[in-house]
């Protein structure tokens, strides 16, 4: 079990940093088109913020904010968003993952842009959730079986 780190400095710092870091994650996600960045990196940053919270305030805070079944479901939802974006391309008359054919009222080039954004959002969710789960599960002292 990860213990709560009872230091005012650390806790205050984490309290301030967390929202900023999460905002930065969103920025990395959105800016991924133009510069180094993207869903994977955003997901790692997002996941790290929760791990940071757990390190400062103890594992319990994770159980309150995102408990494990929800976390697994979030991860699955992220990947599902990816897959469904691909399926939406099929619905628009293209093949699987053909974002230029997404059924959006924009030009194919813009549609490709949005398609990537959807997919990267899915990746962000998936990676963040996976990191949190890995942290929780591997950090458990005793296995349940």
């Amino acid at each position: 079990m990860i213990e709560r780190h009872a230091s005012v400095v650390v806790q205050t710092f984490v309290r301030v940093l967390t929202p900023l870091a999460q905002l930065f994650a969103l920025y990395v996600l959105a800016f991924g088109h133009y510069s180094p960045g993207g869903g994977f990196q955003a997901g790692v940053i997002l996941g790290a913020t929760y791990i940071l919270l757990a390190l400062a305030f103890g594992r319990d805070i994770l159980d309150r904010k995102v408990n494990q079944p929800v976390c697994v479901a979030l991860g699955a939802a992220g990947v599902l968003l990816y897959a469904l974006t691909g399926v939406a391309g099929m619905a628009g008359g293209g093949t699987f993952l053909d974002y230029s054919r997404l059924p959006l009222p924009v030009t194919p080039v813009r549609a490709r842009y949005f398609g990537i954004l959807f997919i990267e959002t899915g990746v962000t969710l998936g990676v963040a959730a996976t990191l949190i789960i890995l942290f929780c599960r591997l950090g458990e002292q005793e296995s349940n079986r």
């Binding site: 890995l134 599960r137 591997l138 458990e140 002292q141 005793e142 296995s143 079986r145």
Partner: protein, 121 residues
């Protein structure tokens, strides 16, 4: 010219040897990572080209011959994710093995597994 490939081969052998010869499961897992990394290195070496730059198209000055091959990098990005997942599963299993049998030495675990199977509690 081909020396870097020998590094990859060396790492490969090192990893394989560690996986097969070491009795400690954690070291096996380390060997596994070295082994996979060697393969990634091998792929990346395939993309190397002298006097070439990153294949980022900016401006009109486009000469494909001056770009490095981006495909191996893309492939290895995927392979790295796969590798992370494999290592994650391996470590998760090791943690639970340790919790159950109190050791990561192959022979000790084999012994305790045998007594486990003889008398499943």
């Amino acid at each position: 010219m081909n020396y870097p490939y020998w590094v990859a081969v060396g790492l490969l052998m090192l990893g394989l040897y560690t996986m097969i010869a070491h009795r400690n499961l954690l070291k096996k897992a380390v060997g596994m990572t070295i082994f996979q990394t060697a393969i990634i290195l091998f792929f990346l070496l395939l993309a190397v080209k002298r006097d070439a730059s990153l294949p980022i198209v900016s401006g009109a000055d486009v000469d494909p011959a001056r770009f490095m091959n981006p495909l191996p990098h893309a492939l290895m990005l995927t392979a790295i994710v796969v590798m992370v997942a494999t290592s994650g599963v391996a470590l998760a299993i090791l943690i639970r093995l340790y919790a159950r049998y109190g050791s990561l030495e192959e022979d000790v675990i084999a012994e305790r597994v045998a007594s486990d199977e003889a008398d499943p509690a």
